[in-house]
């Protein structure tokens, strides 16, 4: 027996791989057929795959797979021919058969022996029999196979089995024929455990197939023999012939199987080639008199680069390869649990390294099983909760700076603190006290604890003794992160962040401190070149010694890459220097999790597709790098982790998204509705800091003095095809200020404020900064009209300007239809209204601190009792815990973190005790679709956020408050 055990292994591995591939295709096609795709190619392919599985399994002596495949094939035959119809029952049975084969294959892979699944087999075969209405006669040859003793196999048959093994791969067609022909003659069953064909048995077993397998590769005349041999076989069924032909056409396929280690070697060799190329290029350039050599070397250059590129790609596989399998998983589970689930796959083309794909397969399957089993409710439950009866499950894969993000989102019942918490306590994972101190997220993360399972009864679907902790450990094993976020009643999102050892990422190559760095394109917003000599609009300025960039009215913090990395050594250009030097600087505008900032680099090189290699584990702490990459010339460049840079420069604070230059740090984490808001600090010419809430600012513009014009007594500027009325903030506030404009002031900054569909310009003496302040506005300090109140930060007192108040009082000057004459009537009605409004308590749900306070103020001034909540979840809990009827109306913003307005409405409507409370959406989104969506979710009305009079009149109308009529009339 000349075949080494390695070769036996290889032959088996190939067989297993091939079967697996075919099973996958089979499943996929079955899915297609289920969706009523009865095209002849699909039907032919599905038949062909099963046929090939049958053939090769019997060849290897795996009789049970062979029998099963035969049964499935027989069922499929009439369908392929169009003489029978596809039934659900058939598809289910085929799926079941498919699974059994897969399980057997798995066992073979592990134990190198076909396990005994005769019970399952008998059941399945019976199902197939009944399905295909195959006569006993038809199946009998297969059964007879078993009783032919091995010794009876003739030499010529042995010859054929060698052929089929050795030629199998290249000559699929012949193999199939042979397999088919050979099937009846092969006798796996009588000599079962002794080693099918002796492939895995080192003892010399005189089994039929052993010799041929071993000697096959040495036979020189094999190829020549194949065709005549096969043709001479009269038993070859016409059916098999046909299918073989079809597969023969197909099998000139585009793919071959190559071992991963081979690709690794190739990759390393190319790396060496690149280095040689570089040496040659150097030589060629220094000996440029030899034109011929130069030309040759340039071709070498191009070829090497191309080759490197292609080799890099070989290891990458689209994640769709495994995602598609989940169609089947979800289908089966949903069916079993009697749920309707729509699976949506996004980003199936995202490529990642094969080894990583394999590694995430199991965790993903587990997450999906969990989502289907525990997450998504049954149809009845969903109906009760006011959801669509079919649940949705979304799998989304994407690349993000050298990582692959896989998000699994369901719209099921979500993770309930009230269920998880006690369970964890019961399991002894933690104490009640610890639990009470935990945040929502921490409680949700408990499901990743070992030995935790929420389903009260263990189901055979996801409760198999392994929990989400396995998912977590497996993902972490490959250096990934699992993140979970869930809202009760709304669903759960599990996010896997998987790093890539090998991923081709488009990147921008920049220079800093004499070295190259790669910045992932995904984080890149734009590139800027600032040249002082030109009158460019963007320029670097300094605020409190910190450089900022004014880019289209937004202030972006600026940091210098070489300064960060070299910390002032080796001639790094500091950001401050760059801003004062008056020289040109290259700025890369980056987006780190929502925060925009500018990064000064020494030079911008080029963009390139790079392969990110992770850094050694002991360098993981250097969060400013995400990895390293080998450049085309063989040198190594570090890849920049944009978020890491932002963190290092302390640009990011906590986890909030768009904070800018916030210096007033306070502990915001403790208070969930962090009362922090951003303010634009403006110079009004008086002492003290004056600020405008940033949420109100639509743009910041600078107009040259010559652009200001006058319309009557109103200062205006032509702006975007309309006239922008300009109000002067210093004048309005009538502060004892130095009204003389700054000497060299050719241009004046104007804060543009949008109110409704109108724009107003507010002229200030200067824009100072944007700050984030977490303290709330103290309304008690209002010495004059136009001031909303004051806020105290750690450093100073900031006076907040009441922009709307100012606009309201000044608007009458601009608008002819200003309702001055109704003033008296209104005043009379107002008193009555205030009295009647007292009876009503309104809940305002709004995430923006400014708006929350603004609306509260508007309502309180009108006489309503007001309570506020910072987001949907918060609002819901306030509602839930209040006694019924506490709130007359709920006003809610639409876009909010954690639980948005639509979600809040749905939940309120689904909760019996509070389902009747009128809900009004206050928003800036007004498309027909938005309104429809809002109404569908349960909102009674849709109102504009900033329109206070309309809000009041609407509330009055809803609550039936007398005098509302007058009020509305007065407000026009």
């Amino acid at each position: 027996m000349g075949l080494s055990s390695e070769k036996k292994e290889a032959a088996l591995a190939e067989y297993l791989d091939e079967c697996q591939e075919m099973l996958e295709r089979f499943s996929r096609n079955l899915g297609r057929i289920e969706k009523a795709d009865y095209s002849s190619e699909t039907l032919a392919e599905i038949y062909r795959d099963m046929h090939t599985i049958k053939g090769s399994s019997q060849l290897f002596g795996f009789s049970q797979i062979g029998q099963l495949a035969h049964g499935m094939e027989t069922c499929l035959d009439p369908i392929r021919k169009g003489t029978a119809k596809v039934s659900t029952n058939l598809i289910d049975t085929l799926y079941a058969g498919c699974d059994t084969i897969a399980n057997v294959l798995l066992a073979i892979r592990e134990k190198h022996q076909e396990p005994d699944v005769s019970d399952a087999l008998a059941g399945l075969l019976a199902r197939f029999l009944s399905l295909a209405e195959i006569s006993v006669l038809e199946t009998s040859p297969l059964i007879q196979d078993k009783v032919i003793p091995a010794e009876k196999i003739t030499n010529s048959e042995l010859e054929k089995s060698k052929l089929s093994i050795s030629e199998g791969k290249q000559l699929e067609k012949s193999e199939q024929k042979i397999a088919d022909v050979k099937a009846p003659a092969r006798s796996p069953a009588p000599q079962p455990a002794s080693g099918f064909f002796g492939i895995f048995d080192d003892d010399e077993v005189p089994a039929a197939g052993a010799k041929p397998v071993h000697s096959a590769p040495k036979e020189p005349e094999l190829k020549a023999k194949t065709a005549p041999e096969v043709a001479a076989k009269p038993e070859a069924s016409p059916r098999a012939e046909a299918s073989a032909k079809a597969s023969g056409d197909e099998q000139h396929s585009e793919t071959i199987r190559v071992h991963v280690s081979l690709l690794d070697n190739l990759m390393n060799l190319v790396g060496e080639l690149v280095l040689i190329r570089n040496q040659i290029m150097l030589r060629a350039n220094s000996h440029d008199e030899d034109a011929e050599f130069l030309k040759v070397s340039q071709r070498l250059n191009v070829l090497t680069a191309e080759m490197q590129n292609e080799v890099m790609k070989t290891r990458m596989q689209p994640i769709g390869n495994i995602l598609n399998k989940f169609n089947r998983v979800v289908r089966d589970l949903a069916k079993e649990l009697d749920k309707k689930i729509e699976l949506e796959l996004i980003g199936a083309e995202t490529e990642l390294d094969k080894t990583i794909i394999e590694a995430v397969k199991d965790p993903l399957t587990h997450i999906i099983r969990n989502a289907v089993d525990h997450g998504i409710e049954t149809m009845e439950e969903r109906k009760k909760a006011g959801k669509k009866d079919s649940g949705s499950l979304r799998l989304k894969a994407s690349h993000e700076s050298g990582q692959v993000i896989i998000e699994i989102t369901d719209d099921g019942r979500g993770l309930d603190r009230e269920k998880i918490g006690p369970k964890a306590v019961e399991k002894g994972l933690l104490t009640k006290e610890t639990l009470s101190k935990m945040t929502e997220k921490e409680v949700q993360s408990l499901i990743f604890s070992p030995g935790f399972s929420t389903a009260s009864a263990l189901s055979n679907i996801s409760g198999r003794g392994v929990g989400m902790d396995v998912v977590k450990t497996n993902v972490e094993k490959i250096g990934g992160i699992v993140d979970i976020s869930s809202v009760v009643g709304m669903g759960t999102t599990i996010k896997l962040k998987i790093p890539l050892t090998l991923a081709i990422v488009p990147a921008l190559i920049v220079w800093a401190g004499g070295y190259r760095f790669a910045i992932p394109q995904t984080k890149l917003v734009e590139l800027l070149r600032i040249d002082e000599s030109e009158q460019s609009h963007e320029k670097l300025e300094s605020v409190q010694g910190r450089p900022v960039l004014r880019l289209r009215g937004k202030l972006l913090p600026i940091v210098s890459l070489s300064e960060i990395l070299l910390q002032g050594n080796q001639g790094s250009v500091s950001a401050v220097e760059a801003c004062s030097a008056g020289s040109e600087s290259n700025i890369v505008i980056l987006n780190a999790d929502g925060l925009m900032f500018g990064l000064i680099v020494d030079a911008i090189d080029d963009s390139a597709d790079i392969v990110v290699k992770s850094l050694s584990s002991f360098l993981k702490d250097l969060s400013v790098y995400s990895g390293a990459t080998i450049m085309g010339d063989g040198s190594v460049a570090l890849t920049i982790d944009v978020t890491g840079i932002a963190e290092r420069c302390q640009l990011l604070q906590e986890s909030s998204d768009d904070e800018l230059n916030a210096r007033d740090q306070q502990d915001k984490t403790k208070d969930r509705i962090a009362d922090s808001a951003e303010y634009l600090l403006v110079d009004v010419g008086a002492t003290g800091s004056y600020a405008i809430p940033l949420t109100l600012v639509s743009r910041i513009e600078e107009f040259e003095n010559s652009r200001f014009e006058w319309s009557g007594e109103q200062k205006v500027v032509r702006y975007r095809n309309l006239l922008l009325p300009i109000f002067s903030l210093p004048e309005f506030l009538q502060l004892p200020h130095n009204s003389k404009p700054l000497d060299d002031d050719q241009r004046k900054p104007v804060v543009v404020i949008q109110r409704g569909d109108r724009f107003y310009g507010v002229e200030v003496r200067g824009i100072e900064d944007i700050v984030e302040v977490s303290s709330s506005i103290d309304h008690s300090i209002k010495d004059r009209c136009g001031i909303l109140g004051a806020i105290t930060s750690s450093e100073r007192v900031i006076v907040v300007v009441d922009m709307f108040g100012m606009i309201d009082s000044l608007r009458s000057q601009v608008e002819i239809e200003a309702p001055g004459s109704n003033e008296k009537v209104k005043a009379q009605a107002a008193f009555a209204e205030v009295i009647s409004r007292r009876r009503h308590r309104i809940l305002v749900v709004e995430d923006s601190t400014f708006f929350r306070n603004y609306i509260r103020q508007v309502l309180q001034e009108a006489g309503f009792q007001v309570e506020v909540a910072g987001d949907g979840l918060d609002g819901f809990s306030v509602l839930e815990h209040a006694s019924p009827g506490t709130f007359s109306v709920v006003l809610s913003d639409i876009e909010m973190p954690r639980l948005d307005g639509l979600g809040l409405a749905r939940r309120v409507r689904a909760t019996k005790a509070i389902a009747q409370v009128p809900m009004v959406a206050i928003t800036t989104r007004f498309s027909v679709q938005d309104i429809e969506q809002g109404k569908a979710s349960g909102f009674n009305r849709y109102l504009e956020k900033l329109n206070a009079p309309e809000l009041i009149s609407n509330l009055d109308e809803m609550l039936g408050i007398s005098g509302g009529e007058v009020g509305r009339a007065a407000n026009g």
């Binding site: 990759m267 390393n268 060799l269 190319v270 790396g271 060496e272 690149v274 280095l275 401190g513 070295y515 990395l565 070299l566 910390q567 290699k613 850094l615 050694s616 584990s617 002991f618 360098l619 702490d621 250097l622 400013v624 790098y625 390293a628 080998i630 063989g634 040198s635 190594v636 460049a637 570090l638």
Partner: protein, 162 residues
């Protein structure tokens, strides 16, 4: 280097009697002789272009492209806390530890020598701890001492210290 070749021969005869020998890839750092178990050394390479890693600890010298794979260069001089004039170029002793390529930067490369285990002694207590923590012991050669470096200890240190 001459002496090393002789040593090898001498020790070669020991193989028969003792049959307990170990091969070391030797090198010099600041004129002292060190050795790493030859089975742990993947290769020895000439000075190579290196990309420094700003902000990394001082002993992490940079990244090297080793035929398409990125190796992290660790300066033994810096790791051992040796001051004094360093050569401008370093040789690289490349080891693979837990799948990671680490290139140890040394001043000069010596021979591969085979020594009998009977000449082994644990590191003397008096050696500076900065170096001792990476050493597995000392071999008494005929005219010098060979300090053997344990790559795993270096790896352990790197993973805990940085």
């Amino acid at each position: 280097m001459q002496q090393m070749v002789e040593l090898k021969l001498v020790n070669g005869s020991d193989v028969k009697s003792e049959n307990q020998t170990q091969q070391f890839s030797t090198f010099y750092v600041a004129n002292r002789l060190y050795g790493i178990d030859v089975t742990r050394v993947q290769e020895v390479v000439r000075p190579m272009p290196m990309t420094p890693i700003p902000l990394a600890p001082e002993y992490v010298r940079g990244l090297i492209n080793l035929r398409g794979q990125v190796a992290t260069a660790i300066g033994l001089r810096q790791l051992f806390g040796l001051k004094g004039e360093a050569p401008t170029e370093f040789m690289n002793v490349v080891c693979k530890v837990e799948g990671i390529l680490i290139s140890l930067q040394v001043d000069e490369i010596g021979d591969v020598i085979e020594v009998s285990k009977k000449y082994f002694e644990p590191s003397p207590k008096t050696i500076s701890d900065d170096i001792k923590k990476f050493m597995s012991g000392i071999f008494k050669l005929s005219d010098s001492l060979l300090s053997t470096i344990d790559v795993d200890r270096i790896n352990k240190f790197l993973n805990h210290k940085s």
